[in-house]
């Protein structure tokens, strides 16, 4: 029983370990080169310098190869990597089909990691398309939740930042700031340079919008710090390092512009424009830099080519359909025209800006444009101003609403985190308690089994002891009875002899002494009678003599027993058993316990011989040497290998010999025979 319990525990532990490593195991089973080639394809597809089509083809290839893999989890894992690449590919990419497949698979497999990733990519995808802010938000939030449950710190921070970006883009700057700081904390903990860079850049942008230029500059400088530490670019390609710098320059440009430091701003914008292939890399950044460059030029008083280039930026923004920028640039152009005192153009652009801004809910530019219009179109100024006030109020209201919504989500997320922590603590305690309980139960069970076993053994031992005692007592009883009988015999003999003979004698003699007055014949008769009496005396005497001497025929118990035992085996005619008992041994002086045990030992040995030895001759010898008794059993049988000493028979003999405080030796050679030798002290104190 013990054995099955042990095995079950081992097995379950083993399975536990196995299941944890199951994924790893499966991965290694697949052809590693296949996996490598898929990964390489995916990596290549993430190269920005390639054309979109090439990238899509690479992904398609990777996808085809992926379907040939056997492991579902591996397939899913690589699929997610493909999605990560697909997200970056603008326009129609295989993202939709990959993502729906990966999503359903992750749901089926209950792969929280997969789901976290997918929702994040969904979020990224949706955030690229401006109308789907809410969807993006939903996905990022889910991704955040999953990441919290999986405790993937970096990804939690990334999700937070993604939400922060969304919030910023929906003009919830304070909420966004909140999220950025949360993410920042994690990035600082992880010393994740890219994350820090993102946070600082975002903060920089936000503070500009909030008109806190000091803070904006502070964070811009921090951005520069991070870039300069080069830790940002470690492990990334050169490409990334340059883009990081770009972002920084762009950001600083903006900051300085808003601070009014047009010179410095101009310098930074120039750096951005100097970037190789900026148009191909990030056309938006190019447009912004262009806008900034020429605007600052304009502010510095140089109007050359300003409007022309601003229009270029305008066209780019229009083509990108970047809504805020579309209104924004128009306002800037309007400002230029205002400066040039071209009120008409200024008005046209302002109106355009107003329309775009109000259409796209670009509140900031909406307000700005209203201001401009009010200034330019003095006639309708009051209408514009009224609208301005109305819009401003509703913006604030909205902000509160959204802020509440976000704070509620945040609260729920916190709650969720707390719950999760509590649950995990609960889980660990439950697991701990259950394991300890199981262990304790197992131990108790084990103890119980051992106890019953030892009880059983004790009981058996007790029984055996009792048996031996009983045998001993019986022997003692027999010998007492024997003695008693003997003494009785003696007494009878004596009585018989003395009294009867005495009386007959007395009678005879008395007769003899009488004065016989009879004749000769009678005298003769008398003599005969007297003679007869004398003979009777003699007979009685002889009988009593015989009676007294019958004791010589009494049984010699121990010897007789051994002889009887051997007789039984000898009668089977298979082996010849010979007994030699040293005549010097007086069995009467030897303790009954010794005799009992010796008898049993001989019995056991002969049984063994009979069962295993196949001997033709067996000699059993009892010797006496000094104060020890020696029993030697010798057979010419098949012998046995020394190591096979575990038999119960030999163990019994061993324990008996120990009990008698003796020594037990056994020698055996295969095909030659076995010699068993037991030496015990004659006068002993048996061990209890």
């Amino acid at each position: 029983m013990k054995r099955t319990l042990y095995i079950t525990i081992l097995l379950s532990l083993f399975l536990l370990v196995i299941s944890c490593d199951f994924h790893k195991l499966k991965k290694y089973n697949e052809a590693q080169p296949k996996i490598d080639s898929i990964s390489t394809l995916i990596q290549q597809s993430e190269d920005y310098s390639l054309e979109e089509k090439t990238r899509k083809d690479l992904l398609k290839k990777a996808y085809k190869l992926n379907t040939t893999l056997k492991s579902d989890s591996l397939k899913r894992h690589l699929l997610l990597d493909m999605i990560r690449s697909a997200v970056e590919i603008k326009g129609s990419s295989p993202f939709e089909e990959f993502s729906s497949e990966a999503y359903s698979k992750s749901i089926k497999a209950k792969d929280t990691l997969g789901l976290a990733k997918i929702h994040y990519y969904f979020g990224r995808r949706h955030s690229q398309l401006m109308e789907e802010k809410d969807n993006a938000y939903y996905h990022f939030n889910l991704a955040l939740e999953y990441n919290i449950s999986l405790d993937r710190k970096l990804n939690i921070a990334n999700s937070l930042i993604s939400i922060a970006i969304l919030l910023k883009n929906s003009e919830n700057y304070y909420a966004s700031e909140n999220f950025i700081f949360q993410a920042l904390k994690i990035y600082i903990d992880l010393n994740e340079s890219y994350g820090l860079y993102t946070c600082y850049s975002l903060l920089g942008e936000i503070y500009i919008i909030l008109n806190d230029y000091e803070e904006a500059l502070r964070y811009d400088l921090r951005v520069k710090e991070v870039i300069d530490q080069k830790s940002l670019t470690k492990g990334y390609s050169n490409h990334y390092s340059r883009t990081a710098n770009l972002g920084a320059y762009s950001s600083m440009g903006t900051t300085y512009y808003y601070m009014g430091n047009y010179e410095k701003a101009h310098g930074y914008y120039a750096k951005v424009l100097k970037f190789k292939n900026i148009k191909h890399y990030d056309i938006k950044m190019y447009a912004d830099a262009l806008q900034g460059f020429y605007l600052t030029k304009f502010r510095m008083g140089d109007t050359l080519n300003v409007i022309k280039n601003l229009n270029i930026a305008l066209r780019i923004n229009d083509s990108l359909e970047h809504k805020p920028s579309m209104a924004d640039i128009r306002l800037d152009i309007a400002d230029c025209y205002t400066y040039k005192l071209d009120t008409l153009q200024a008005l046209i652009y302002s109106r355009e800006a107003y329309q775009l801004a109000s259409k796209f809910n670009d509140n900031e530019n909406h307000l700005k444009s209203l201001k401009r219009l009010a200034r330019l179109d003095k006639k309708n100024a009051s209408i514009y101003l009224k609208e301005y006030i109305k819009l401003n109020d509703s913006i604030q209201k909205n902000e509160t609403k959204v802020r509440n919504k976000f704070s509620r989500i945040q609260f729920e997320t916190n709650e969720y985190i707390e719950k999760k922590e509590k649950l995990s603590l609960q889980n660990t305690t439950i697991v701990g308690v259950v394991t300890t309980a199981l262990i304790i139960l197992g131990l108790l069970y084990f103890i119980r089994i051992q106890r019953t076993k030892s009880k059983k053994l004790l009981f058996e031992k007790g029984q055996q002891n009792n048996n031996d005692e009983i045998y001993n007592l019986i022997l003692k009883q027999q010998s007492y009875m024997e003695e008693g009988r003997l003494k009785e015999r003696h007494r009878i003999a004596e009585e018989l002899h003395n009294s009867i003979i005495g009386r007959i004698f007395g009678t005879r003699l008395s007769f003899d002494s009488l004065n016989f007055k009879g004749g000769e014949e009678d005298s003769k008769k008398l003599n005969l009678l007297l003679k007869e009496l004398q003979d009777i005396e003699k007979e009685v005497r002889d009988l009593s003599y015989e009676l007294k001497n019958n004791w010589l025929n009494k049984h010699q118990n121990f010897n007789k027993l051994i002889e009887l035992l051997l007789e039984k085996y000898n009668s089977l005619k298979l082996t010849k058993y010979e007994l030699f008992i040293d005549k010097e041994i007086d069995w009467d002086t030897i303790d009954g316990t010794i005799k009992t045990n010796l008898f049993r030992i001989v019995q056991e040995t002969i049984q063994n011989c009979h069962k295993h030895a196949n001997a033709s001759k067996v000699e059993i010898r009892f010797l006496e040497k000094k104060k020890t008794l020696i029993l030697v059993v010798k057979d010419n049988g098949s012998g046995f290998i020394e190591t096979k000493r575990k038999g119960i028979g030999l163990k019994n003999i061993d324990s008996r010999v120990k009990h008698l405080k003796g020594v037990f030796e056994i020698q055996s050679e295969t095909r030659i025979g076995t010699i068993l030798r037991v030496t015990i002290p004659k006068n002993h104190q048996t061990t209890l």
């Binding site: 003695e483 003997l486 003696h490 002899h497 003395n498 003979i501 005495g502 009386r503 004698f505 007395g506 009678t507 005879r508 003699l509 008395s510 003899d512 002494s513 009488l514 007297l530 004398q534 005396e537 003699k538 005497r541 007294k548 001497n549 004791w551 010589l552 009494k554 005549k583 010097e584 007086d586 009467d588 002086t589």
Partner: protein, 225 residues
């Protein structure tokens, strides 16, 4: 010349003691030389009293002693043998005729050794006639041993084997079935001493490898027990 002898019969059996008395009377009637004063005691206590009194006063000339007697009340005298020893001690000149049913060699030997009786009769051996003869002989020319006694002595002396009284006692005890472990209590020897004696006896009897049983048989054969 007629002599008056005082005799004491110590016999617990009344018939036997009266038969003894008639023997004495027969002798007196046959032979004028003998005149007897007969007294009878039938247990050790009375006997010892008589003996002691006699030793102080009129000395008894002849004792007719049975061995198988009820022991004295004080437990000092367990059998006629003890009385005989006392008689020898107190009345060295007295003559003792032992008459007993015991007939084994050991007893005979031991009685002769301890009492050295002037007459030794085994009850089964004789009739009245012989008894009269025995009394006459003992008073005139001791000793007189009855046939069984003579046979025993002959047997003992005919062999070359000589063993001492301890050996005899050992053999006797063994023959009556005394256990080896009891022997040290009966014989004035340790267990080891007893073992040694047995071995020696076996060697003497030339049965070195044999058992105790054989020892006893051969001792019987040789007339030691």
């Amino acid at each position: 010349m007629s002599q008056l002898f005082s005799a004491l019969i110590i016999e617990d059996h009344p018939l036997t003691s009266s038969a003894y008395k008639s023997a004495f009377e027969r002798l007196s009637s046959i032979d004028d030389d003998f005149k007897f004063n007969i007294a009878i005691d039938n247990n050790c206590s009375d006997a010892i009293k008589t003996i002691v009194d006699s030793s102080k006063g009129d000395k008894i000339d002849l004792f007719f002693l049975d061995i198988n007697l009820p022991p004295s009340q004080d437990g000092k005298y367990l059998s006629g043998e003890d009385l005989g020893i006392k008689i020898r001690e107190l009345l060295p000149d007295a003559k003792i005729i032992v008459s007993t049913t015991f007939y084994d060699n050991y007893r005979i030997h031991s009685i002769i050794k301890s009492i050295d009786p002037d007459g030794f009769l085994i009850k089964n051996d004789f009739d009245l006639q012989e008894l009269v003869e025995a009394i006459k002989k003992v008073l005139k020319k001791p000793p007189y041993y009855s046939n069984t006694v003579l046979k025993s002595l002959r047997k003992q002396f005919s062999g070359d084997i000589a063993i001492d009284s301890l050996d005899r006692q050992l053999l006797h005890e063994l023959s009556i079935g005394t256990k080896m472990k009891e022997l040290p209590k009966i014989l004035p020897m340790s267990m080891a001493g007893i073992e040694k004696r047995k071995r020696q006896l076996k060697e003497i009897f030339d049965i070195a490898k044999k058992e105790d049983r054989d020892l006893i048989l051969i001792a019987k054969e040789k007339g030691f027990i």
